[in-house]
């Protein structure tokens, strides 16, 4: 009886936990390299970036005058920023089984190197890289962008 009551409690806890779990977004990528001052901007707050930290859709990467940061995304895309730079990840969708693919990034200032990943292979037209003055379309590509304010 006791065991049964316990298992019922476990089911109840799981049932409560399940919706919260379902809502948790999966990370778009992870920070792999940090040196100097580098930050993640999320929902208006700026936190120092740490190696291993998860990155989500709508986050921005920002570096100070001595900073660098490198991120690897879930689809193997890699992005790194030099000093005094900022890039915003507007969209990241990588769920091929559901037909959901897309990546949109805005290069706001400074220097960045982008190496395309699986999204660029599966659905190149779903990638949108924007600078203040242009849109960059990619086809299996390594590229570098410098935005001067």
């Amino acid at each position: 009886m006791k065991a049964r009551r316990l298992s019922l409690a476990a089911v109840a806890i799981l049932a409560l936990a399940a919706p919260a779990f379902a809502q948790q977004p999966s990370p778009a990528g992870r920070v792999k390299v940090v040196s100097g001052s580098a930050f993640i901007v999320r929902a208006g707050s700026t936190v120092p970036a740490k190696v291993g930290q998860e990155l989500f859709e709508s986050d921005s990467l920002r570096t100070g005058d001595d900073g660098r940061i490198g991120v690897t995304f879930e689809d193997d895309t890699r992005l790194s920023l030099g000093p005094a730079s900022e890039v915003r990840l507007d969209t990241f969708r990588y769920a091929p089984a559901e037909g959901s693919l897309g990546m949109a990034m805005r290069f706001l200032r400074g220097v960045a190197v982008y190496v395309s990943g699986k999204i660029a292979k599966l659905a190149p037209d779903s990638i949108r890289l924007e600078t203040p003055s242009a849109i960059v379309g990619v086809r299996g590509t390594t590229l570098a962008i410098n935005v001067r304010e």
Binding site: V111, L122, G137, R148
Partner: protein, 210 residues
């Protein structure tokens, strides 16, 4: 806001006067308010392709170190090739912060079985060796199927295969918490086929270490 890059562009131009820039016309320096886009060679030596466009025009970059300067309200500028030295000067710190390239292993199963082929079984310990070398390693295990059967049942089949490989990786010593397993079903074929086609090469599990 910051004008930190003014100095860098000046350095690049100065260097061109006395270094290995050769007789070629020096590239117009990047001015404030301009964006510079450069196509770099990929790690494997190939070079991709980039289209840079805005409402005023469009240029294609398809050779190594091809670049264009763009400003708001103006068509992308003439394509010019940057030297290796210029690229290092402008992008060196960003290039230095690139994470290591993800490495992918493709594992195959014996016909109609949950058992890996012998070759694929040997790959499990290679995966472990790579995991040991990477900073904060993550391992993604993705099951794939061919196009026989329904798309839904193939997502499930792919997940069963992925979970089988995940268990094997834990057996050889990869930390379970670092592994994500998922299924792409028949949505990411290695060998493109029509629906309903038996294709052993598509029945695989991709293990990526990043």
């Amino acid at each position: 806001m910051t004008r930190a890059w003014g100095g860098v562009v000046l350095v690049a131009v100065t260097a061109c006067l006395n270094a290995a820039c050769g007789p070629q016309r020096p590239r117009t320096p990047q001015r404030s308010g301009q964006d510079l886009v450069v196509l770099l060679p990929n790690d494997d030596g190939t070079t991709g392709k980039v289209e840079v466009s805005n409402p005023s025009g469009r240029v294609t970059l398809d050779t190594a170190r091809a670049s264009t300067l763009i400003a708001v309200g103006q068509a992308p500028g003439e394509v010019t090739e940057l030297t290796e030295a210029e690229i290092q000067r402008i992008f060196g710190p960003a290039l230095a912060a690139q994470p290591p390239a993800p490495i992918q292993f493709t594992l195959y199963f014996q016909f109609d079985s949950e058992e890996l082929t012998d070759d694929s079984r040997q790959m499990l310990s290679e995966v472990l060796q790579v995991v040991k070398k990477y900073p904060v390693p993550r391992v993604t295990v993705v099951g794939h199927t061919d196009t026989t059967g329904s798309a839904e049942s193939n997502v499930e089949l792919g997940l069963r295969r992925a979970n089988a490989v995940r268990a094997l990786l834990v057996d050889v010593g990869v930390e379970g918490a670092a592994i994500d397993s998922t299924s792409h079903g028949e949505a990411a074929l290695l060998v493109p086929t029509a629906d309903g086609v038996f294709e052993p090469k598509n029945r695989r599990v991709d293990v990526t270490v990043r």
